[in-house]
Symmetry: C2
Subunit: 274 residues, 2 copies
């Protein structure tokens, strides 16, 4: 199985050292689950990318991107993870962008991650991170390339051998997991952290909120302390690659996967079309 990489449409292409994605993390990315050569929730990924590119002023030719990605998918394994990186292209030294420079677009395919089946069926053992996400409303929500916080968190997670971690911001409010969003269930209703000062507006998070609306399940976005999760009826992590992971343990609390989590997992299975 080969996993192709295209840089600006060139297979196996490489990158200029002057690319601003490297120099400043000046760009965005998307990570899509591919099943049967179909990218799951593709429309939501592309519209998030377009919205974030507009917010950061990164040029994006949507039609060209979509056409290129469709061609790229044909060269990928039928089941894989597809990643899109969009950067503000190359410029001279210094923070000032060259507003004329074409963006850089990188497509790459990767194996599906090899997590145990039990993460879906029985749930994950999560820890609470000792690190704190910073606060920056200007960048909150966007899946940009400034991800040093997540790198530091992921190293901590490996050290703790946790399946995922609940991560709080500087003020002690829960934001998300290391590489997923987080929901709680209380009295049959969903709650998830507000992402206006930190965190990523995950596509899977958005899909879950839309599906909850269709099912008549109320969803609240709010600021939660970790205690709200520890005392919830159900807790789960979600992202576009792995779907929904029930939490079966947090420090001081254990759960069995609950009915709302199961209902949303079946929505994910349907979306995969497997």
């Amino acid at each position: 199985m080969t996993y192709p990489v295209w840089v600006n449409g060139v297979e196996g292409g490489s990158l200029l050292p002057s690319d601003r994605g490297l120099a400043y993390g000046d760009g965005l990315f998307e990570t899509l689950r591919v099943e049967n050569r179909r990218a799951v929730f593709a429309e939501a990924h592309f519209s998030r990318l377009a919205a974030s590119a507009a917010a950061l002023g990164i040029p994006l030719r949507q039609a060209e991107l979509l056409a290129g990605f469709s061609r790229f998918l044909l060269s990928c394994p039928a089941s894989c993870v597809a990643k899109i990186v969009l950067t503000r292209g190359s410029s001279g030294r210094g923070y000032l962008p060259n507003e004329e420079a074409p963006s850089t677009v990188i497509f790459s395919a990767h194996p599906l991650p090899a997590y145990p089946e039990s993460f879906q069926s029985d749930g994950v053992v999560a820890d609470i991170s000792g690190l704190r996400l910073g606060l920056q409303p200007m960048l909150a929500g966007h899946k940009h390339l400034n991800r040093l916080e997540q790198v530091m968190l992921r190293r901590e997670q490996a050290m703790l051998s946790a399946d995922e971690m609940l991560v709080c911001d500087l003020d002690g409010h829960v934001v998300e997991g290391v590489s997923s969003n987080i929901f709680l269930v209380r009295d049959g209703e969903l709650g998830t952290p507000l992402l206006d000062r930190a965190g990523v507006h995950g596509v899977m998070r958005g899909q879950i909120m839309a599906q909850a609306a269709r099912l008549g399940i109320n969803v609240t976005e709010s600021r939660y302390a970790a205690d709200a999760f520890l005392s919830a009826d159900e807790v789960f992590f979600c992202n576009s690659v792995n779907g929904i992971w029930p939490v079966r343990r947090l420090p001081g609390r254990q759960w069995q996967p609950g009915p709302v989590t199961r209902q949303l997992q079946s929505f994910w299975q349907d979306a995969l079309g497997l």
Copy 2:
């Protein structure tokens, strides 16, 4: 005049799309002023790089780096800007680093910036940014590759046609300029913002503090509102490439370059050895 770029010791080398510097801004950089083939304050740059690499857990072979950079300098124009980028190397998809992967080291040379001579002699016209730096103590001080905030600031600065900008954090405390640190002078003493929650510990900032100590000038690191700068006797920006820029105008206030600023500018001239 040619300005070389070396990637891992290879002239004109390119970068893997899987480099973590690109994927996550997972790395650091240094920008050095080169005069007469000598990198000014080289020791301070290399020790900052080593300290930040240790803090973020990025492998760095100091002796090899120094030797490589010395060779690189021989291929550079006598006067230029030299940039060093250190990344955590390549890995698979996902935030987890490959702790075995060798770091990526990029050396590049660039023309000296073409600012008017008056920026040094008469000072700059600065504005106060409408954007706010986020708060993140874990990353504060490091010259890492997560610089989207500075990109957004630099675009604002271009729009405002400001020579530099005074930038505050979310709490309204002054942090720095867009690409420099900032000092004020009051009653013959220096003050500069604390950088424990945002900002970069600039090498020039450190050199100025050391020189002030040698001159018997007291330096205070503190949290300042913009008003403290507007009511100061002197204000200047500094960085390792451009030295010291007196501020001659901020909204609502004008200055002539003052005696402490002049004293520190002559220190910079000596350091350049011109």
